[in-house]
Subunit: 527 residues, 2 copies
């Protein structure tokens, strides 16, 4: 359906036919949302699939977004008293089994190391030899291996709280993968903490959920609902799982971060004990919490448009791209010099605690192609400088959050003076737009028929036709019946995303079972 090659030189006709506006990404969101997502990643040069099943290559532009996310989150973790450490990639099978629900939750998707050498086999080809006494699991998450260290580190109440974070790669052998959203290997951070009381561990769990919500809303410009997972969606081995849920442009939900109160389950499995102030030996209370490169998928799907990536300024790999107009030989050198000086001046400025990042594109390619390549990469502010602009000491500015033809001539000094305000304005605008989208597509629903209609396309898609966009967040009462939730998933592909922490109290009959319910929850289809 799509022809990736056709994107190379920028603007293309959408597939809608004669009257549709031209777009840089084919297909458009309306034509085929899922394929549009892949094409945005390709056009912005963020990542690609690799020869290793389900593992992605994160390309420099995509990795730069991750580095910016890491820098902000790492500071937030340190400001809340956490310290980074590093634990083994491999988990002995016996460790992994210390928490029964946990091993059951991950056993079906584990990469298992069984040998430690290669040697020529009978046919002369290399094969694995040196079988390990005990197989090693490539960590899908590190509760059990970190628990083994915590058991050594924690002896007395004086050693608590123990507040640790790890930046690492993890592997979950997913069968259906999609770049950033679901890959066999992904990058993440996992916080692991131990506390003397249940209350302290619960406070920590909620504190880190708040950190994630703060990051999502104020840096990713993604509005999120903070909530608790139902029993069916809990992390394997946790007592309670909390999450932040965001709505994508196709109205599906995406879980952007989770924070787990683990009770004493893992402390008992790993033997994390301490002497309390009265001299009694007790099990510690633990938490874990994580966000991953999945956030990049969320960022893409929240803001991008039919011209490619739209990146919130606070996480953008570059804030400004300067495009010198160099086609007149007599002025080219002077224009380039003018642009270089401007770049140096901008790079001396700061935006949100990091230096302003400027790309200066002096490649010898067609101006249109050059401009479109940066539109597709989502750089917040583009400026073009030609001989006449230079003479007038002005720049021709365009914003990624406005139509690409909307350009303004601004005096150089004014541009410099207002740049950070413009970036803040773009950041705020993206958040407001995403929030309005969520509100428009959130509905209170009180009957099963209405719920079914909400999540059912009006007409079945024909061949070559994409299903129409429908649904969103249905706020409906739920009696927390696990079987009813499972049936809903089978029937409609809809799950309870979370029980919102705020404003969800509203007693009445459950939308599915009719039994008494106390809260409205978020029902949605999800990534």
């Amino acid at each position: 359906m799509s022809n990736p090659k056709s994107n190379e030189s920028g603007q293309q006709k959408s597939q809608g036919g004669g009257q549709a506006p031209q777009t840089a990404i084919t297909p458009t969101r309306a034509d085929n949302y899922s394929e549009w997502y892949q094409q945005v990643i390709k056009a912005a040069d963020l990542a690609e699939t690799s020869a290793v099943r389900g593992c992605m290559v994160i390309k420099p532009w995509g990795y730069a977004i991750w580095e910016n996310m890491q820098a902000v989150l790492d500071k937030m973790f340190k400001d809340t008293g956490h310290r980074n450490a590093y634990f083994p990639l491999f988990i002995p099978l016996s460790f992994f089994q210390k928490e029964a629900e946990h091993v059951e939750g991950f056993a079906k998707e584990c990469a298992v190391v069984t040998h430690h050498r290669l040697a020529p086999g009978p046919d002369g080809k290399l094969m694995p030899v040196g079988e390990l006494e005990e197989p090693l699991i490539v960590r899908p998450t590190s509760e059990t291996i970190i628990g083994a260290s915590f058991a050594k580190w924690v002896q007395s109440y004086r050693d608590l709280p123990l507040l640790i974070n790890q930046w690492a790669n993890v592997v979950r052998w997913e069968m259906r993968t999609r770049l950033f959203l679901r890959t066999a290997e992904f990058l993440w951070q996992e916080g692991h903490t131990a506390h003397a009381t249940a209350e302290e561990a619960q406070v920590e769990t909620m504190k880190m959920l708040d950190v994630y919500a703060d990051f999502a809303e104020n840096f990713m410009a993604c509005p999120v609902i903070k909530g608790k997972k139902t029993d069916g969606e809990r992390f394997p081995g946790a007592v309670d799982t909390y999450c932040i849920e965001a709505m994508m442009q196709d109205r599906k939900a995406l879980q952007a971060g989770t924070s787990h109160f683990l009770g004493q389950n893992f402390a008992k499995g790993s033997d994390i004990k301490f002497l309390d102030q009265s001299g009694t030996l007790q099990y510690a209370w633990t938490t874990s919490w994580g966000v991953s490169t999945r956030l990049i998928g969320s960022l893409i799907m929240t803001h991008s448009d039919d011209d490619g990536l739209v990146c919130p300024p606070r996480l953008a790999p570059a804030h400004v791209v300067i495009l010198p107009v160099l086609h007149k030989p007599e002025s080219a050198a002077a224009v380039l010099e003018y642009c270089k000086k401007l770049a140096v001046e901008l790079r001396g400025m700061a935006y949100c605690g990091r230096p302003v990042v400027v790309e200066l594109d002096d490649r010898d390619i067609r101006g249109g192609d050059k401009m479109w390549s940066w539109v597709k990469k989502g750089v917040p502010v583009r400026i073009e400088v030609g001989p006449r602009d230079m003479e007038q000491d002005s720049v021709f500015m365009a914003r990624r959050d406005k139509p690409h033809k909307e350009k303004t001539s601004v005096k150089r000094a004014e541009f410099i003076a207002t740049l950070t305000t413009i970036l803040d304005d773009i950041q705020a605008g993206l958040f407001a737009k995403a929030k309005a989208h969520r509100e428009e597509n959130t509905r209170k629903i009180d009957s099963m028929k209405e719920l079914t209609d909400f999540f059912t396309p009006k007409k079945a898609p024909k061949d070559n036709e994409q299903p129409e966009i429908h649904g969103g967040f249905a706020m409906a009462r739920f009696s927390m019946d696990v079987a009813a939730e499972a049936k809903l998933k089978d029937d409609l592909g809809v799950t309870v995303r979370c029980i919102p922490l705020e404003g969800s109290d509203d007693p009445g009959p459950c939308v599915i079972t009719g039994k008494p319910a106390t809260k409205r929850v978020v029902f949605a289809k999800a990534y």
Copy 2:
């Protein structure tokens, strides 16, 4: 021989007997260098072994050193035009075999993933199931998997040079491991670049060697010799391997970083081709270069003493520790307040591009234990503040590079004004001391007898006795004879560390074979 518990409360008698000075680390360097190294790591809380064979846990204090190393190196890489990206953890066996020497070099120490699920076996216990069609190697280095991406990314000379770096974990199934120096899993960065000509790739290889030398000398305060490896010590698959070699306090050499000119070997294996300006299809020329958490081992062994870690200020997890003297109840609150204000003021200052990091230790433990815990952790500057110091608006300062009893009373304002100068002085002093040590233990050697004597202990160690320290760097002529080098390794445990890039030309007879040689090389025992 050593009793780790005995270190807990600081200063201990060395094992030398009655007259020896007391030290915080048992055994001392002179008593047992190798065990001293382990005890410094334990006392400074840097790392520990894990339940997974050969894999270490990097504890927060050790990881903070790594984070500081990463920040400096990452900036150096970006300033030289490199961008970060991320490639798969797993390498299909078939990829790994694309370069014949390469696979031979790593086949004996590979972690191999063969299955992707766990399920109960006949005995009810979990076992690996879901055998993979092709085994996956956990990357020991990424030339072949990154080469597969480079082959896609490089089409024309316009795509070159391609300058990529990756921060990652790698696994080499070493049989004899030692914390930081040699572990089955370690953290590193690996630069991978592709160029249009051999010359450009060679320039890149040397440029990154210079970056490593700059980092080692100016941040780690470790003097290094830049040189080229002999054929016997080349990276498997490389044309030329360059390295930086440092001398540890036991006079052994440690390879602290390598930079490889790979020629077209890996480009041919991975099919990295480009159309040059004349329209001819050519193989690219590639390089790779890396440093790892091994650097932390080098840092420890270069500077630390019998009281524990000595950390160069530019990489120290904390620059200053403030120790309030709180044992008098009537002044405790005021002293603590005074110290907190001082900490805030110091944290507002910068040293070498990062904020000054201050620890304020108000734990309710014995003053001596408290002081010794920070000596052992290697914090460059300690200050004690008691009621009298506070009254005089002064602090009691000690430097980690001076004897622990050498303390000076300094006015608060003067301390603040001179702190960065003091840190620079410590940094410079550590480098000068390490350089003097290397020079004292480097000798020009011109005969095999002298070489043998230089590397042979004068007397054999008796039971419970450590071998005396001997040897160092022997600068001797070598004819580059691979067999002679192998024999020397068998006979004396000595290898050619490198052929120095500077000052090594000195024609004459080879110290081993007597054949004509053109250069003096560095012979040494090595980690």
